[in-house]
Structures are given as structure tokens and as C-alpha cells.
Amino acid sequence: MTITKTPTTKRGKLVNLRNFPGFNPTAWFVLFFLYSPLIYVVIYSFNSSRIGAVWESFSVKWYGRVFENNDIQRALKNSLQVGLVATVLSTILAVMAALGLLRMKRAGKAVAIALIGAPLIIAEIVLAVGTLGLFIAVGVPLGKIGLMVAHTAFCIPFALLPIRARLSQLDMAPFEAASDLGANESQILRRITLPLLAPAIVAGALLAFAISIDDFITSFFVAGPGATTLPVYIFGMIRSTVTPEVNAISTLLLLFSGTVLIGSYLIQRKRR
């Protein structure tokens, strides 16, 4: 990236895009806007008061409540189970789709891309109620299995994004060399394609996991009473009353998201 700092111009000074009027305050305002609600949630998770908006004194009691709450534990367990299964399945399917799509004919490719892209474009509520209709029509009981299927489906496009991007940047030489030297398809896949795609596969899997763990609408409709996930449970809590416990759960989830993001960032930097 070229950001020249020194050149002097005829008009005396560089067209200082770095200090374009208004850019600086706007940027700081936006960062403040993006983070103040999150910071507020974190701070008030340590508030001992029962009433959310009144600061009383520092306390970690709401964290204690969270860890004691069996419903939360169960919801978290459901979320993690669904998330892990959906991540593994959607990543495998995304790798297969990415590789297969490369050599597909036009018509088939168009259908495939429409199906893969649908969850990115069509409102989640539509797919959620449609999936509910499907499960009821074919007799899939509402619960974890159905949830895993639904999550896998809408995670595929997200897992696919980094994999397709990486695939389009790959250097052909190793493939040609391997092919010339007599390697067969599965050898090339195992020894060249997958290792070269590994960072993108990891990135895709992390993205899929984040999408699955965060999902609310589909889970809300398809989970049924037995498989309540964490977001669905939190939604119920928020809707009924304001409870400081939610601030504590939110802070823990923030911590988790931050860790995953930093982790994925470090992995990608190391592999590069």
C-alpha cells in the first residue's frame, strides 16, 4: 500500500488525505458508536444492583448466578453441540463444493451457486419458517438434529467464502508438477490441494462456527422446547425482564468472540 508521506508538491503541501476535513472526527465517532453499547454491557455486568441502569457497587455476583443457572448451562451445551456439528459438516461440504464447482458446467454451476448463495440473500426468517414447514412435513422432530441440519445449511456459504477466495489465488505450478509426475486425483487432493487450502479452511470453519453460535431466528423456530440454544434463551430472558445476568452472559460471550477473532487472526498470520 502506498501512502507517501514526504513528497512536496507545487501547491506547497501534499493533498493531505490523512487529514481530510471531517474524516477524523467521523471515524472516532463511529468507533465510539460501535463500542459504547458493548462497553456499557461489560461495565454493568459488574453492577451489584438488581435494577439494570442504577450503579450500586462492584460485584461479580451475576457471574456466579450465570454459572449456577442450569438452564444457561443446558442452552450453552446445546449451542456448542449444534455449533460444532454444523461447523464440521458445513466446512466439509464447503470444501467439496468449492473443489467440485471448479470443473462444473455452466448450468449446473448456476444452480449450485444459487442454492449456496440463497442463505446470504434471502431473509433468514423466510428460510427459518420454510425449514419449520419442511421438518413438520417430513416428520423430523423439532430439536437438536433438525437444528444441526438447518445450521449446516446456512453455514455453508460462510465457510465457502474464504475457501473460494483462496482457491482463486492458488498458483497452478504445484498441481501441474504433481500431475506431470504421475500423481492421481486423490493424491493431489490429499498432498497439495488440502494443505494449500488449510488456512482458508480454518478461516471458513471459524466463520461457520461464529455464525452458528450467534444464530437466533432459525434456532427460535426450529429448536423446539427441548433444544433451546443460548441466543434463544437470552432472548427469552431479555424479553421478559431486564436482568443483570444477561449482562454477565453477554460479557462472557464478548470475551469468547474476541478470543476466537484474535485466534483466527494469529493462525492466519502464522500460516501466511
Binding site: 465517532f29 463500542y35 467439496m96 482457491l167
Partner: protein
């Protein structure tokens, strides 16, 4: 085994046209396609079919009798005395969704261009940090972000308390502005990131050259910078407008159910209202509107020669 002496062009080795990444046959894509046809294709088909069926006299689900009443009910009201009249309730819901999304897209765009440009002109290390800061909310549950915004704008929240010092009344929660604010808040990173991706590739020496040649600052922005980041702007518009149009949580949690958007009405028909066929008809309408918007965006980007891939 013969040894080829000429260097074959990519893909045309002696073993035939196979030397490409993803050697694997297209059959590999069959399983994911079949799965998606089941888990995405059929649900969409079901919604279309349901929208032409009758509601059962009791309970949820559908009665397998063909009807177009659900679509008529979107616009026409059957009165008790048998006469019909134009029903604007659902048109209003659609109009609300459309205008909220439009306002959200406009405001996020106005905020994002300066932010993206600002980030792109920082030095490399700062840039990495800033991009991470903008990306982080993307990874945080929309539910939690909306909940955080609800606490900030609540009557007794920090803004309310601050304004209370000056005896100014603050009451925006559970109103249309609160919903719109929530949408802006949640979708802002979706606008900043693609514009930044374009701005990052922009060679800022071009702007300097234009300035050297006598262009005013605003001319530089209009004629040099905006065209360069246009692909990012177009993707950003799509990435904000489309999910905003189908958004559910913001109007539910911040609008307090007073300002329904399409998704809320669909959800209600599949929930308490127990009218799946009518909910399906609304869902079909939402799909049609979304696809229409996608076509418009694609048309614009193709005409301009920008390569914008939504999928």
C-alpha cells in the same frame, strides 16, 4: 514414459486437461448440492406452496386446498357486511421495512465512506488494528449488540441520564427512531468493511496527482476517489439493505412491537397468529422484493463495469 520438452501451457499437460487446483471431478459438488437442495431449496419451495393453501379451521399448519386468498388478503380487506376495501396495513408494513432499510443504508453509507478512507490512510500497523476493531462487532451476536443498544438508549440509560441533567426529556426506546438506530448500529460494519477493501487498493498517489494538477479537494473526492471505491460502495449497499429489509430483532427489541417490519409480521403469523399460509404469502413477497433489489444492484454494477459479486 515420454518426456515433454516443450513447456505446456497451464492445463494442457500430457495427462490431459486436468492440471488445475481442484483436480477432483465435479461429482464432488453433488453431495453439497443435494444437501442444499433439501435444506434450502425445499424450504423455499414449501413457502411458495403454502402461500397458495388454505389455513386450517383450527390449529397450525395448512389445509391442502388451493387458494389465492392469501395474496388478496395482502391488499384487500373483507368487511363483515361482505364488501371489500383496500387494506393498507400490510402495504404499510412493507413501506416501513423499505424506508427503514433505505434510511439505514443511507446513514451507514454517509458514515462509512469517511471511516473507510480514514482507516485506509493510516499507517500499516494502525490499519490492522482499526480493521480488527471494525470486524470485531461482526463476530458478536446481533442479539447482544441490539440488547446493548437498548440499554444505551433506554430512558434511564446513559443518554437519558446525561440529558436529564439539563432537564431534557429523552424517550426514544420503543419507537421507530430506536429501530432505525438499532439497524444502523448493527449493520454499520457491513458497510465499512467492503468500502475499506476498495479504498485499501486505491493508489492514493492518484489523488495527489489530481490535487497537484489543480483539482479542489472536493473535486478529488468526487472524480477520483468515489469512482475508485464504487465497487465497495455497491457491495456495502447490498450487504446492508438486504439484511435490513428482512431484519427481525431490532424492531422487536427496540421498536417494542409498535413498528412492525415484514419479518416480524411473518414471524407472528407462524407463531401466535397461527396463519401459516398468510405468513408464507408475505414471505414470498419479501423474497420477490429482495430478488428485485439484487437484480437492480447487479444491473447497476454491470452497467458501470464494476465487478460486484454478491455470492
Amino acid at each position: 514414459m515420454t518426456v515433454t520438452t516443450s513447456t505446456p501451457k497451464s492445463g494442457s499437460t500430457q495427462r490431459g486437461n486436468r492440471a488445475r487446483p481442484g483436480q477432483s471431478s465435479p461429482k464432488l459438488a453433488y453431495l453439497p448440492i443435494i444437501f442444499l437442495a433439501f435444506a434450502i431449496g425445499i424450504p423455499l419451495l414449501i413457502i411458495v406452496v403454502y402461500s397458495f393453501l388454505e389455513k386450517p379451521s383450527q390449529g397450525t399448519g395448512v389445509k391442502w386446498v388451493f387458494t389465492t386468498e392469501n395474496y388478496k388478503a395482502l391488499f384487500i380487506q373483507q368487511k363483515l357486511d361482505g364488501t371489500t376495501a383496500l387494506d393498507t396495513r400490510y402495504l404499510k408494513v412493507l413501506w416501513t421495512s423499505f424506508t427503514y432499510s433505505l434510511i439505514t443504508t443511507t446513514v451507514t453509507l454517509i458514515l462509512s465512506v469517511p471511516v473507510a478512507m480514514w482507516i485506509a490512510t493510516r499507517d500499516a500497523r494502525r490499519r490492522t488494528l482499526l480493521v480488527a476493531l471494525v470486524t470485531l462487532p461482526f463476530w458478536i451476536s446481533i442479539l447482544i449488540r441490539t440488547y446493548g443498544m437498548r440499554q444505551i438508549i433506554a430512558d434511564e440509560g446513559p443518554i437519558g441520564k446525561f440529558l436529564g441533567l439539563f432537564n431534557i426529556d429523552w424517550s426514544i426506546l420503543y419507537s421507530p427512531p430506536a429501530t432505525i438506530l438499532g439497524l444502523i448500529y448493527v449493520f454499520l460494519p457491513f458497510m465499512i468493511l467492503p468500502i475499506y477493501a476498495s479504498a485499501e487498493r486505491f493508489d492514493f498517489r492518484l489523488a495527489e496527482a489530481a490535487y497537484d494538477l489543480g483539482a479542489k479537494k472536493l473535486t478529488v473526492v468526487r472524480k477520483i476517489i468515489l469512482p475508485a471505491i464504487r465497487p465497495g460502495i455497491i457491495s456495502g449497499i447490498a450487504l446492508v439493505f438486504i439484511p435490513a429489509l428482512g431484519s427481525f430483532l431490532q424492531s422487536d427489541m427496540l421498536g417494542g412491537g409498535k413498528t412492525n417490519m415484514v419479518a416480524n409480521v411473518i414471524a407472528n403469523n407462524f407463531g401466535q397468529a397461527r396463519n401459516w399460509p398468510f405468513g408464507s404469502a408475505l414471505a414470498v413477497l419479501l423474497i420477490v422484493l429482495t430478488l428485485l433489489f439484487v437484480l437492480i444492484i447487479q444491473g447497476i454494477s454491470q452497467r458501470r463495469g464494476d465487478k460486484v459479486e454478491l455470492v
